[in-house]
């Protein structure tokens, strides 16, 4: 979900100039275009302050690229597992990322970030607006861990792209019992316990999202009692996103190998000033095609 700094968005010193520059009121962004406008507006590189950011390597970057593609009406792979990220939508999305990085709106070493670095940057007060996991919420709200942003940020549903679709790259952790298990009954008991209302309620209080409806009802009811209305808003946004926006990557065993071809290409497009974006995506698509062909997806 999108995290934004309320102290910046509610500051009249920012509201008027932004309206003048882009012709709309300074409100949390609803489209990715607004994200790039506002992020560009807020960036102050000399003061160690950037408009927005993403995790910039590994599956973390590939997943963000995938959700942006999907919001714009594209995808990494087609339904029959052929690479399509080098089509028109892919080039447009990659160009959008390239332009943001080259304009200095993203932190220059973003391509080395994974989750801790991204969260630290926001916690440190160096980022205006970005999409983030739900789980950091209690950390960000704690004045002891994040004095720069605690109580000074808001949350909204992830923005929509050209296709009018909200981005939402997600996955859930599941439990399984292996076939060779010696005591399947005990394993099943354990899973029942771990997914019980009691355990999931306790876990949700630490910040993770529940998977049971009864726990949802309970944590939302609990949040209603909170003095901070954002506690409840967060859960309501999450519930909407889970039911409407969330997409998992294709559930194939070669996904990470695909990801390891795509993300270096996206990195190169980000950090290279003069680059033929279409050619670089074509090359990555060719490599993905070869990989999946070798793995027997097309035969």
């Amino acid at each position: 979900m999108l995290h934004y700094r309320t102290d910046l968005y509610e500051d009249p010193a920012n509201q008027a100039p932004l309206r003048k520059k882009y012709g709309y009121d300074l409100l949390p962004p609803e489209t990715w275009q607004q994200v790039s406008d506002q992020a560009t507006f807020f960036t102050k590189p000399g003061e160690n302050f950037w408009g927005t950011q993403w995790a910039g390597k590994d599956e973390a970057l590939n997943g963000r690229f995938m959700e942006l593609l999907q919001a714009n009406g594209g995808d990494i792979l087609s339904a029959d597992f052929h690479p399509i990220f080098n089509n028109e939508v892919g080039v447009k999305t990659a160009t959008w990322l390239h332009d943001l990085y080259q304009a200095g709106v993203l932190p220059p070493d973003m391509t080395n970030y994974v989750w801790p670095e991204v969260a630290n940057n926001f916690c440190n007060g160096s980022i205006a607006v970005y999409t983030e996991w739900y789980g950091w919420y209690s950390y960000f709200q704690d004045p002891k861990s994040c004095p720069a942003v605690a109580g000074k940020f808001g949350l909204v549903r992830a923005p929509v792209g050209d296709a009018g679709r909200h981005s939402g790259w997600a996955g859930a952790h599941g439990y399984s019992i292996v076939g060779s298990s010696k005591n399947k009954e005990a394993a099943a008991q354990l899973i029942k316990f771990l997914t019980s209302e009691f355990v999931l309620t306790e876990e949700s209080r630490q910040g993770t999202l529940p998977v049971r409806d009864d726990v949802w009802a309970r944590v939302i009811a609990d949040a209603e009692a909170s003095t901070n209305p954002l506690d409840k808003q967060r859960l309501e946004i999450a519930q909407v996103q889970i039911s409407e926006d969330f997409t998992t990557p294709p559930l194939i065993s070669d996904w990470l190998a695909v990801s390891n071809i795509v993300f270096p290409a996206v990195q190169e497009i980000l950090i290279t000033k003069d680059i033929d974006i279409q050619a670089r995506l074509d090359q990555a698509a060719k490599d993905v095609e070869q990989l999946l062909d070798d793995a027997g997806y097309y035969s």
């Binding site: 000399g46 070493d109 080395n112 440190n124 065993s253 990470l256 190998a257 270096p264 190169e268």
Partner: protein, 326 residues
């Protein structure tokens, strides 16, 4: 008695011992057999062990390098006879492989040389210290005590653009206006990794050279002093040449270490962004262990090992050639 005496000797000598003394008591064939096989029998365990842990994996991985083996598909562990050299051909056509290889050569050459120069300087300074030398020596060794992975994390944070101590220090003293992307820009990425390695491993070089310096006999120095040699002349014409063997040892250890560089680079940049700081072993790791393409990974390991051995061989030929023997 006779058996034991015969053991270390050749078959002929066993024969002669037997012929001259006790032929009638012991049949010739039995002595010859046990004399020949017993020593071999004694080393069977170690041979089996070496076969098991060295030869078998080597031959097996050579076989794997000719197959399209991926861990998730056990059936792929078979050579495709229509295209046997597929993995090798793909690697030779792979730009990233050559980039990783070039980076490794640059990384090795620059780092080893800087470590040698800095290590030499430190060792000469330390050799002059008269009080508290052992304390200084211990302090010098502190960087060696850290696990390379921790050094990688530590320097990764140092060079972080937004929160890192390096950029903050540089901008506080007004040297930079815009933050520097240490781990992203070319060639700063590779340089940052080199700095981490130099910090960690220069002490090893310094300690070896210090041991060498302290072991030199004092006569040549006294003679040079009498002849009025300057400090630089003493270093250039006495210390440096006499330290030759120690320099070779330090260079050997560091070159071999650096040619398998992996941990620090993996933590600091992961070979990225966009393969800019890729080293051979970070690339092998990605191919074999992340993408699970064991066949391709094995092929790349073989190419790398062969080229590294060739390069090392060449390096030491040149090194030995350039050394003056005293």
């Amino acid at each position: 008695m006779g058996d034991f005496e015969a053991l270390p000797m050749s078959v002929e000598s066993v024969d002669s011992v037997v012929t001259t003394s006790q032929r009638a008591m012991r049949p010739k064939t039995r002595v010859r057999k046990s004399g020949r096989w017993f020593p071999l029998f004694l080393i069977v365990p170690s041979i089996l062990f070496i076969l098991l842990v060295v030869v078998f994996p080597l031959v097996y991985s050579l076989y794997v390098s000719f197959t399209p083996y991926t861990l998730l598909k056990p059936d792929s562990l078979a050579i495709r006879w229509d295209d046997v050299f597929r993995n090798y051909r793909r690697l030779i056509e792979d730009d990233i492989f050559w980039k990783a290889f070039g980076n490794t050569i640059i990384y090795l050459t620059v780092t080893v040389n800087l470590q040698l120069v800095l290590g030499m300087g430190l060792s000469q300074l330390l050799a002059r210290v008269t009080r508290g030398q052992s304390l200084l020596r211990t302090m010098l060794m502190v960087p060696m005590m850290f696990a390379p992975v921790l050094v990688g994390f530590q320097f990764g944070w140092f060079f972080n653009t937004t929160l890192g101590v390096v950029n903050n220090a540089l901008s506080d003293i007004g040297l930079i206006q815009q933050p520097i992307a240490w781990l992203v820009d070319v060639p700063l990425g590779l340089i940052s990794i080199m700095i981490a390695d130099i910090w960690m491993s220069t002490p090893i070089v310094a300690i070896i050279l210090l041991a060498g310096t302290l072991s030199l006999s004092s006569e040549p120095f006294e003679a040079a002093e009498v002849d009025g040699a300057t400090a630089w002349q003493k270093f250039r014409y006495i210390t440096y040449p006499m330290l030759g063997p120690f320099i070779t040892i330090a260079l050997t250890i560091r070159s071999l270490d650096l040619s398998r560089a992996f941990d620090i680079a993996m933590i600091m940049t992961g070979g990225g962004p966009a393969n800019r700081t890729e080293l051979t072993w970070t690339y092998v790791f990605k191919l074999a262990l992340v993408d699970r393409k064991f066949g391709l990974g094995a092929a790349m390991s073989f190419i790398t090992v062969i080229i590294t051995v060739g390069f090392t061989f060449y390096l030491f030929r040149q090194l030995i050639k350039s050394r003056v023997v005293y």
